[in-house]
Symmetry: C2
Subunit: 132 residues, 2 copies
């Protein structure tokens, strides 16, 4: 029996790029990676699961911060190696820096300028240890 | 002199993930890769340039199809390895399949369902040879 998971083109590390887009504002909030297990869990539970490359393990977004992502739609691109999720972001903070979005720097006159305020101190989010 | 290009965290292949988002609708149109040269050219010219992994060369999007992407904003993510562009898509077609977006498949009941019509036959776009 062929599975929808087999249609995904996993890379040599067994990963695909996963983009979380705010279902309401359509802002791109973060970009990370998923393996087969995390994509399956995301679809089954409706909560975004990734694969942390730095920690080399399944990563339920918000497991420490409480900033869970509720997923209302999953899309796959033409090449099969990109997933786009429509999500609702708990706490309104997707970035480990305490900002709404990880895309908080904009190119202006050949400089990356920070455009977004820190909404919550990362120390307060993670209780002192840095993580997503 | 430090350059904004040095703040990008290029991977082992010298690439970063680049996302093209429609500046008006905010739909994600395609996801590809850039090397240093393509990002610099994108910023300088205001036209999206990528690096084609399959062809291993600089790829000005639309060079064959005429479907150029005019870039109004460049953003960098917190990790420095993702670029998000706000673009206007010439011809209204970003995907090599002749669709508006490469994200034309949606997960419904454990199946990837095509949600977007082909707007133009790829053969007519590329004159018979498949390419972006």
């Amino acid at each position: 029996m062929s599975s929808w998971l087999d249609e995904v083109r996993w890379d040599a590390q067994g990963l695909v790029t996963a983009i979380a887009q705010d279902a309401h504002s359509q802002r791109i909030l973060m970009v990370a990676y998923m393996n087969r297990e995390s994509l399956q869990l995301t679809a089954q539970t409706g909560i975004a699961h990734y694969f942390s490359r730095s920690r080399q393990r399944l990563w339920k977004k918000g497991e420490e911060s409480g900033h869970l992502q509720t997923v209302s739609e999953l899309r796959l691109d033409c090449d099969g190696d990109v997933i786009v999720m429509q999500i609702v972001q708990a706490g309104g903070i997707a970035c480990h820096t305490g900002r709404e979005s990880c895309l908080y720097r904009k190119l202006v006159d050949e400089q990356w300028v920070v455009t977004d305020a820190v909404l919550k101190d990362p120390g307060a989010i993670y209780g002192g240890h840095a993580s997503h």
